[in-house]
């Protein structure tokens, strides 16, 4: 809840002062689970991500129902049984891109350090990402492993061979200067 307020106030400050924010509403994220019985992949093209260039802060919000699966039954199980997206409709991340202000225009590897909230559970997350920053564009991409059990998501023993304990999360966020 605290994070929710933080994110909201963060969004609100953007409305007030427009300039130093870069934003995307069409960011991409996916997760991939590889298990003995099957591989499962889901894509989401509706990620909201905001970078404050004065501080290097990044805030990301993701709609759980925007994850698209190959099979509709998987999507149904994901939303209803595992992440309970009626109760927890969003996943969030708020963090810091380290050494943000020393970046030049070349692609570089940076560390992003922050907190991720999924299924109502907040965990620390530190990951490497590739970042390219120009005057009208900031692209951030990378991937990291996520342990399902860390977020209090229970996988029934019947499907334990269908779903991996650790899923690979990928992201590609292409920010543009925010103007309204």
């Amino acid at each position: 809840m605290k994070l929710h307020i933080l994110l909201f106030s963060f969004l609100f400050t953007i409305v007030v002062s427009g300039q130093e924010r870069f934003l995307t509403k069409q960011g991409y994220t996916s997760f991939f689970s590889s298990a003995p019985v099957e591989d499962i992949k889901a894509d989401n093209n509706q990620v909201l991500s905001i970078i404050d260039t004065s501080t290097g802060t990044i805030a990301i919000a993701i709609l759980m129902k925007s994850f698209m699966f190959e099979k509709s039954l998987m999507q149904e199980h994901f939303n209803e049984n595992y992440v309970e997206s009626d109760k927890y409709p969003k996943a969030k991340f708020k963090g810091q891109i380290l050494n943000f202000n020393s970046l030049d225009q070349n692609e570089q590897e940076v560390t992003i350090d922050g907190n991720i909230t999924i299924h109502g559970v907040t965990q620390k997350l530190e990951t490497l990402a590739k970042i390219t920053r120009t005057t009208d564009h900031i692209s951030v991409q990378g991937s990291f492993p996520l342990k399902i059990a860390d977020f209090n998501i229970k996988i029934p023993s019947v499907v334990v061979n269908n779903i991996a304990e650790i899923v690979e999360v990928s992201f590609a966020l292409d920010h543009k200067p925010y103007k309204k």
Partner: protein, 141 residues
């Protein structure tokens, strides 16, 4: 006589097994909601649905998530990148919009659209971030 009963029994068991396999395969491969073939659960104006989400997001989520919405509004922004079309519907006074992510098979229709035009779109609502998000949208007119 016993032999005959046995054969009938074996056949019955076989039929039941086949039926179970058939049903589970159909359930497992249940198709995704086809937006173009579904009658909308709600007919709405873009500004109204945006207001509903801004006023009470939880309530609007309960009402609209995973539902097929048919929404009419003015195009405030058109965005086509990497074969992905996104149409934003809003009047320019409001902060936020209804963002419609267009289904790839509708891409040919995107070229004829202009900002400022009135349009009706049908899609599945997945929630609200800064905008109300609709996916798998098809363009009606």
């Amino acid at each position: 006589m016993i032999r005959k009963t046995k054969i009938i029994l074996i056949n019955a068991v076989l039929i039941i097994i086949l039926a179970v396999i058939f049903i589970s395969v159909t359930v497992f491969n249940k198709p995704h909601t086809d937006v173009s073939e579904n009658t909308p659960n709600f007919y709405l104006e873009a500004t109204n649905v945006l207001e509903e989400f801004q006023d009470n997001e939880t309530q609007a989520n309960t009402k609209y998530l995973e539902q097929v919405l048919q929404i009419t509004g003015t195009i405030s922004e058109l965005n086509i990148t990497d074969e992905k079309g996104v149409i934003s519907l809003s009047d320019n006074d409001s902060f936020g919009s209804v963002m419609c992510h267009i289904d790839a098979k509708e891409n040919s229709k995107l070229t004829t659209l202009k900002v400022g035009q009135m349009i009706t779109i049908k899609g599945i609502c997945t929630g609200y971030l800064m905008d109300v998000v609709l996916v798998k949208c098809i363009i009606l007119n």
